[in-house]
Structure formats: C-alpha cells, structure tokens
Symmetry: C2
Subunit: 156 residues, 2 copies
Amino acid sequence: MSVVLDRTDRAILKELQEDGSISNLDLSKKIGLSPSACLSRTKNLVETGVIQKFAAIVDEKKAGLEVLAFVLVNLSPLNRDTLRSFLSEVQKYPQVQECYTLTGSHDYLLKIVAKDIESYKNFIIDSLMQNTTISSVETSMVMGIEKRTVNVPIDA
Amino acid sequence: MSVVLDRTDRAILKELQEDGSISNLDLSKKIGLSPSACLSRTKNLVETGVIQKFAAIVDEKKAGLEVLAFVLVNLSPLNRDTLRSFLSEVQKYPQVQECYTLTGSHDYLLKIVAKDIESYKNFIIDSLMQNTTISSVETSMVMGIEKRTVNVPIDA
DNA sequence: CTTGAAAGAGACACGTC
DNA sequence: GACGTGTCTCTTTCAAG
C-alpha cells in the first residue's frame, strides 16, 4: 500500500502541497534537480497515487458558505443494510464534505458545510434525517478555524 | 467578505476543484467560454481569494501515515494566555492538520495524522501535552474514511 | 541522473468587435 | 464580455554522456 519515498520525493511533495501550480522548471530549481528528472519523479508520484490529484483550494466563506459543523451520528439499528443506505446518502450530498468511522461511542463523524444556519437546519432535517436509520445527531458548530492545512507531514 | 459568483464562476470553481491541473484551453471548452475570458475569470477568482491556492492532494496512507485521529481538547485554566500558547503550539506541529474552536463542551477539535500508533502516542504525550495548559484529551481514532472531498458545494 | 536540443502547446497581453 | 493574433515561456520528448 505504502510507497517508498526518498528525500527528493519528499521535497517535491512538500513543495507541491504548498504550491501545486508551480512550474516544473521552478520546482526543479527549488529542490536542486534537473528539470527532466524532476518531471519524471513528479509524474511517478501521480502514477503511484501518492499525489491523488491537483485541485483548487476554495475559501468556503468567500464562496458564500458561512456554516461549518461537525456532526456525530448514531444509527439504529446498526446493521449492514442501514449502514449501506446511510453511506449512500452521505455520498449523494455535497454538503457532507467528510465522513469517518470512529472508535468510541459514535458511529460516524461528518463534516458539513452550508450557506447559513437556516439551510444547515433544513439539510439535517429534510435531507439527512429523512434517512430513518439515524437515531441521534449531535452537532458542534465551528466558531473558529485556528489551523487548516492540506499538507501531509512528510517528515514525521 | 463573500464574493458574488455567477453561473460561469461556479462552473469554473467546480471544475478546478476536481482537476486543478487542467489547462485553461480545456477548461474554457468544458464550460463553453473563450480561452481569454476563462483565464481572466480564473485569475479574478485567485485574486479575490475565492481560490486560495492550487495544491497537490496527497494520499496519507501512500505517504506512510497510517493513523488519523480526532482529538477533543480542553484547556485549564482557559484564558487569553493559555489559549494563545496552545494555538502557537498547534501551529508548530505539522501532525496537527486542522484545529477548530467548537460550540459545546470542548474547547478545541484537532485532526491529527501520524505514522503509526506509537508515534501518535509519542506526539500527544511528548509534544502536545508538554503544553501544561491542557486539562483533558479525548482521542477518537478514524477506522474508516467513508467520504473525503476537497470540493465546496458551490450550488447549495 | 544530467545535459542539450528541438518541437509542440499553452499562457498572456494586445487590439477589435 | 467575446474573439483573434502574436510572442514568449514552459512542457515534453528525444538523444547522449
């Protein structure tokens, strides 16, 4: 599953996580490699899937999404069918940005964005909780984003 | 704070969130716009900060990071000084990918990545909890990632 | 892995409608 | 805004050391 990365690969990853639109020429200069070698390494990182893709990182607030919330969800009954139907719901809604299975007393953690409180409430009640298998929903609103990185700590 | 986006802007954002390395020429074809108009819109989205940046999205597991965890933290005492020193710690460690202030009974939610359980434990004890203002740490390990999108739901 | 070179494509600024 | 043109830079691929 995991891919062996040497010092140079890690330098490339670090740089491309910070600036994915850097040209191959500038990148090669920054990490001290020839452009052709740099390009072949970058392509290899994409082919092996270490780099999943390149993407524009959008500022939610500037795009008009004021609400960010974490929601702990329990299903009842919790079985293969309710689980599968819940997850297919989750996949459908773009408001659900992330969904994790956790250890502990809750079945799922969701990260949800919405235009405002109103549309958040509507989404939870009219869309998500229409899924009758949900037994409890525990919302924590995000009041402040203190840190947000897409970067993976390559060194650690 | 928020920026007015018309239908075309939203189409551009949607596309660039899915593929940030698409050429301006291909992008303009996809959304039905002339290349120059498309380019000026994209640049405008970057200048207004709607697009924060372009970045390579890295697969944590392939980069050798097996552990993903959410941690609820309380500070004690909670005041301006402890808060500030805690947040400066959080900024320092690349293991902390995200940090939010939440409503509810906990002061902060952290998203943390690590190479394995061992290094996760070491990070919490040796690095994070060295910060003596932390009164409680509640870890939830991620067992499965059911959904993960960098995309912001532009339509909602 | 590096260097060098050649060809193709896209970015970008211009003027025009 | 859209469109067209031109220039300039980067990418990409090839070779050879």
